[in-house]
């Protein structure tokens, strides 16, 4: 088994009620698993939320993470998302100094970022994309003096019909 730590994206169906987030994050904390990002929101079924967790782990630890998560009563289904077979997206909001607004707008156009707020001193931009695109954009914006930045963390869905099959299985189990 490989000891090399690699990035993994987990998509987890959980019961949509109070305390679920602390159960999941608490498990990661007490078992010394790492969380790079975590995002959560309701699904088409209001009883179910879907969590996307990005973690860095070696192969054995990654198996452990999945097996320990599966033991939680509130966890209904777990799947791993691979960048080849899933759509992975992140959203970022960046507030930058507007001194050189022409250059900023030029860059925004290349990246297809939107300007969502404008004031005399500051511009706020939004961008959606894969993690490397977001990283590259942030990197470029640094030259204009970033005044504020927030990113949502990764979310994702499997491409094609895979999710439908999962959904059917998941509904069967409930």
């Amino acid at each position: 088994m490989s000891d090399k730590k690699e990035m993994h994206v987990l998509s987890i169906y959980v019961e949509n009620h109070a305390g679920v987030l602390s159960r999941i994050s608490g498990l990661f904390t007490r078992r010394m698993y790492n969380i790079d990002s975590l995002s959560v929101g309701e699904t088409e079924n209001p009883k179910i939320s879907r969590m996307t967790i990005v973690t860095h782990a070696d192969e054995n630890t990654f198996h452990q993470i999945q097996n320990q998560l599966a033991k939680l009563e509130d966890v209904k289904h777990i799947c791993e998302l691979h960048k080849e077979t899933a759509v992975l997206r992140e959203h970022v909001l960046i507030k930058v100094n507007a001194k050189d607004s022409a250059s900023i707008m030029q860059m925004a156009e290349i990246f297809r970022a939107n300007i969502v707020d404008v004031s005399r001193e500051l511009l706020t931009l939004e961008l959606t994309g894969g993690p490397s695109k977001i990283d590259a954009f942030i990197n470029l914006m640094e030259q204009f003096q970033i005044e504020g930045l927030v990113r949502t963390g990764l979310t994702g869905l499997k491409r094609g019909t895979a999710t439908e099959a999962e959904k059917a299985e998941h509904l069967k189990n409930n």
Binding site: M1, A18, G19, S22, R23, G26, R30, N60, H63, Q64, N67, Q68, A70, K71, L72, E73, D74
Partner: protein, 570 residues
């Protein structure tokens, strides 16, 4: 039918066949205690001296019966006092329901008097927990909680209920609980093929069984398995009793204080078959050298245990009994005469013996007690040297007859647990072996045993020190005995008598024999037998933390009493 929340709780307990609970009342749980008053002819509530005692009693009840133990406590300090007991049950996978009440829903989250977020506190030490704010949720959640507690790998579940929910009315309809079928195998047939092949190719197999064998009631299947593959067998502390200690294939306990025979078997075996065991640090000591010459088959109900501490060559996920039955079907009889002869030779060479100069040794005490109470008796222990001596010398013959806090190592566990065991088995004798350190941690529960007329026999191995810690201080801290010499002024006989128990202090075998006889004659009163032993009895063999199980320490040199160089603190 409309009932208030508290009555619904009682009905749910009755649905599950619960007839005995342990607990302590308080402000927010008043409605529930009013229901206990009403249902007192159907549900016996044993009032302990402290909520921790109630949690340990529920745990002892569960360990000795295999049924779910139930305890109750009020909000705030009542609930937090359960925490050690819940954690103890969690670490040893014991099915338990802890019910706490909380402040009224409109007062939640406002730092109300005796308010604690006990669901938050117990999240890491329960299999699952619930906060109920509506009376109509009580019945479905209780049913679910009992199911969770016993399904798959068992564990404790906490249910916190707001005070208003216990008063509110809701519809209640009696349900017959669905039968929990734990007799299941998750693994595929090919996993069995792999295991069977490894077993057939093994020349020197070793079976290592853990608490899962007891939890699944797999003792008979284990015995058959052992006979079929003609293998020596070792048990973890949690599994003592799962296989008769008197069987010649038994190599003794495994781990930090396992026998030399087991450590030789682990070192020399070419296949280790773990059944319902989790390769804890106290068993494997050093993961890099543990069973280094052996392939590993791991059988467990919990997939998350596979490859957690030890990498396996094959594994089967499922209930221990179900898996062993299936293996027994697939395996044909093999013989390992040479290997078994080698084990027998080692057993002769390294018998279980106590090293020390004293005549009145822990081994003598434990053997005396065993002879007096017989194999039907239940042996409970606290935590420390006396616990390991009990594990090594008692020779447990039957499953569920040895009750000890393994994973959490909870000092003060014994007496509370013994009360639970005795409440579950009024016809059997229950002995709690404790130390003078542990005794002081929960001695108030003697008053509970006395009031309930439970004839628990509390045997104190009184060496005037915290012996296990002292042993480590001797070995690894240059004999600086920091805060381990007790020098208490306690008059044990008076404490016993003061709390309603018989008290005996004994210094030799004759006195012990007389005290045990008198305690056994006492059928409705607990007894405390205070055995004065030497302070430097040691627990051996011993594998120092993190070192290889292959080379346990077999002897520790103790200077004579006149020649002690140890530095007692003032």
């Amino acid at each position: 039918m409309q009932k208030n929340g508290a009555d619904i709780i009682m009905e749910c307990l009755l649905e599950q066949g619960v007839d005995t609970v342990f607990g302590y009342p308080g402000g927010t749980i008043l409605n529930v205690y009013d229901a206990f008053y009403k249902y007192s002819h159907k549900i016996k509530h044993i009032l302990t001296a402290h909520e921790q005692g109630a949690a340990h009693a529920a745990d002892g009840y569960a360990r000795s019966t295999g049924r779910v133990g139930v305890c109750f406590a009020t909000s705030g300090p009542g609930a937090t006092n359960l925490v050690t007991g819940i954690a103890t049950a969690y670490m040893d996978s014991i099915p338990m329901i802890a019910v706490t009440c909380n402040v009224a829903t409109n007062w939640l989250g406002r730092d109300t008097f005796q308010e604690i977020d006990i669901v938050g506190v117990t999240m890491p030490i329960t299999k699952h927990n619930f906060l109920i704010k509506k009376a109509e949720d009580i019945a479905p959640i209780f049913r679910k909680a009992f199911k969770i507690a016993v399904s798959g790998r068992p564990g404790p579940v906490l249910i916190d209920i707001t005070k208003d929910a216990t008063a509110a009315l809701a519809e209640y309809e009696k349900h017959i609980p669905e039968k929990i079928d734990n007799y299941k195998i998750e693994s595929e047939s090919s996993d069995f093929d792999k295991a069977v092949e490894l077993i057939h190719n093994a020349e020197r197999p070793l079976i290592y069984a853990g608490g899962g064998v007891i939890a699944s009631g797999a003792s008979d299947a284990l015995h058959k398995f052992q006979k079929t593959i003609d293998s020596p067998l070792t048990l973890s502390l949690m599994a003592l009793g799962a296989f008769p200690a008197s069987d010649e294939a038994f190599t003794g306990m495994i781990g930090m204080h396992g026998t030399k025979v087991t450590s030789l078997a682990v070192k020399n075996c070419d296949l280790i078959i773990a059944v319902g065991a989790r390769f804890s640090d106290r068993v494997i000591c050093d993961p890099n050298t543990f069973a280094r010459n052996a392939k590993v088959i791991h059988i467990d109900v919990d997939r998350a245990e596979i490859n957690k501490n030890i990498n396996t060559d094959a594994h089967i996920i499922g209930d221990a009994k179900a898996v062993l039955d299936e293996l027994n079907k697939r395996l044909s009889k093999v013989n390992h005469d040479e290997w078994m002869a080698q084990i027998a030779e080692w057993k002769k060479e390294y018998p279980v013996q106590h090293k020390g100069r004293e005549v009145f040794s822990p081994k003598v005490i434990i053997e005396e007690i065993k002879n007096a109470v017989g194999d039907d008796a239940y042996l409970v222990t606290d935590v420390g040297q006396h616990q390991i001596w009990s594990a090594q010398y008692y020779g447990v013959e039957n499953p569920r007859h040895f009750v000890s806090s393994g994973g959490l190592g909870t000092m003060g566990f014994g007496l509370g647990a013994a009360i639970g065991v005795q409440a579950a088995h009024p016809e059997n004798r229950v002995v709690n072996i404790t130390g003078d350190g542990c005794f002081h941690m929960n001695l108030q529960e003697l008053s509970t045993a006395a009031k309930e007329e439970l004839p628990v026999i509390d045997v104190i191995m009184n060496n005037n020190v915290l012996g296990m810690v002292r042993q480590w201080q001797r070995l690894f801290y240059d004999e600086r005995f920091s805060n381990t010499t007790l020098n208490k002024k306690t008059d044990y006989d008076k404490v016993a008598e003061g709390l309603g128990a018989n008290g005996y202090t004994v210094r030799n075998v004759d006195e012990l024999r007389a005290a045990v006889k008198s305690a056994l004659d006492s059928k409705d009163k607990p007894s405390v037998i205070n055995c004065i032993i030497h302070q430097d009895n040691t627990v051996l063999p011993m594998v120092p933390g993190g070192q290889s199980i292959e080379e346990p320490i077999l002897e520790i040199e103790i200077p004579s009493d006149d020649n002690q160089s140890g530095k007692e603190d003032k």
